[in-house]
Point group: C2
Chain length 197, copies 2
DNA sequence: TTGGTTACATACTACATGGTATGTTTAATC
DNA sequence: GATTAAACATACCATGTAGTATGTAACCAA
């Protein structure tokens, strides 16, 4: 199933918008900014998206999801030890992801921070991605509990959200403290995982 | 030492700018936005600040610092138990602070997220505030270690940064999950504090 | 080939934005 | 009370912005 030329320009616009919004933010990225690098004009943009908001929503479930989800699934299923898996998941996200840098953080975290309070549609789309990640971690924890690696007293949901919270936090802190903090954080994260009996 | 009328308008501008930037972000808040509610015009603004950037920098060390710092110092010195103190510090920040809401998060976290990668002066000013908080927590941990509440094997700096990381993370997550998550998080944070031997 | 829809390009508008130039009022000093 | 600088107010400008109106080339079915 090959992609049509029209569909490929749609993807091009979304990809470039994703890169720019990742670095400058959604509101600070203009449609002209997105198009100037590509060989398309506003006519193409408004043919594929009825507004900038519509494009932003599409970004979240299209590019952002495809960029992050496979990496998550791969990292979390590396070994049989859930501690190693959760550690590897955050480590790969922080220092092994091809498009994310310490300077600009994580596109999902950034967009939540900026747009969740301002636009309900953005919030819901971002929450959907977050929920998928949460479920992925929960399943891994339940698996670990079944395998006797972790007490069943723990609520998988709480741990899952806590781990995501840590990730969101360290992505924010990294913008101020620089990449060296990632290593410091990962050590303490390891301690936390080992404290889970 | 009473404040002059000129100084009071300067403060008014900064206060109002702080409120608006807190909700909409720095780049999305226009100077006209800031002034329309006040009884001053652009002449006043550019008399007190040579640019929007200069005003933003002043915001961080003036209003933002004065709004957050006293609350931190008060909360962390409540009891003799460092665990209770750190817990109370985050709890008070999350659900007891007069101006912060779950929806809009924390002004400091927001500004770091938005501006740290884009403007080095912002980053440095924000980092200075962060460093003060970090030192405050470190001192409390060192005190606890001296009082035998915590092993001296722990590096106070690492714990301090880890706690701040958690706060930054939960402020981000709260924007998506709502206020109920604050309570969930605080329980798991308590578990973390108790895991520190 | 023709007709029509798709997939854009071009030109434009109304409005917002940071910043400036210049005028005017207030307040302190003598 | 006159002078002068501080503390604003007003009007304006160049630029950027989301969105629109309209034109046109490519493609596809009949």
């Amino acid at each position: 199933m090959k992609i049509s030329k029209a569909e490929s320009t749609r993807i091009e616009i979304l990809r470039n918008a994703f890169d720019l919004i990742y670095q400058k933010g959604y509101q600070a990225t203009s449609i002209d900014d997105i198009l100037v690098k590509l060989q398309v004009t506003k006519g193409a943009f408004y043919y594929h998206f009825k507004s900038k908001e519509e494009m932003g929503i599409a970004l979240i479930s299209d590019v952002m999801h495809k960029e992050l989800w496979p990496a998550l699934k791969k990292s979390i299923g590396s070994t049989n030890d859930f501690r190693k898996n959760l550690y590897k998941m955050l480590k790969d996200l922080l220092i092994g992801h091809p498009i994310m840098t310490c300077e600009y953080g994580c596109p999902s975290v950034n967009l939540i921070q900026e747009m969740a309070p301002l636009n309900e549609r953005f919030r819901k789309a971002l929450k959907k991605n977050l929920n998928e990640w949460q479920n992925l971690i929960e399943e891994e924890i339940i698996r670990a509990q079944g395998a006797g690696q972790l007490s069943k007293d723990h609520d998988p949901k709480i741990i899952a959200l806590y781990v995501i919270t840590l990730y969101h936090g360290v992505r924010n802190m990294g913008k101020v403290l620089g990449k060296t903090y990632y290593a410091t954080f990962l050590k303490e994260f390891e301690n936390y995982l080992n404290s889970l009996k």
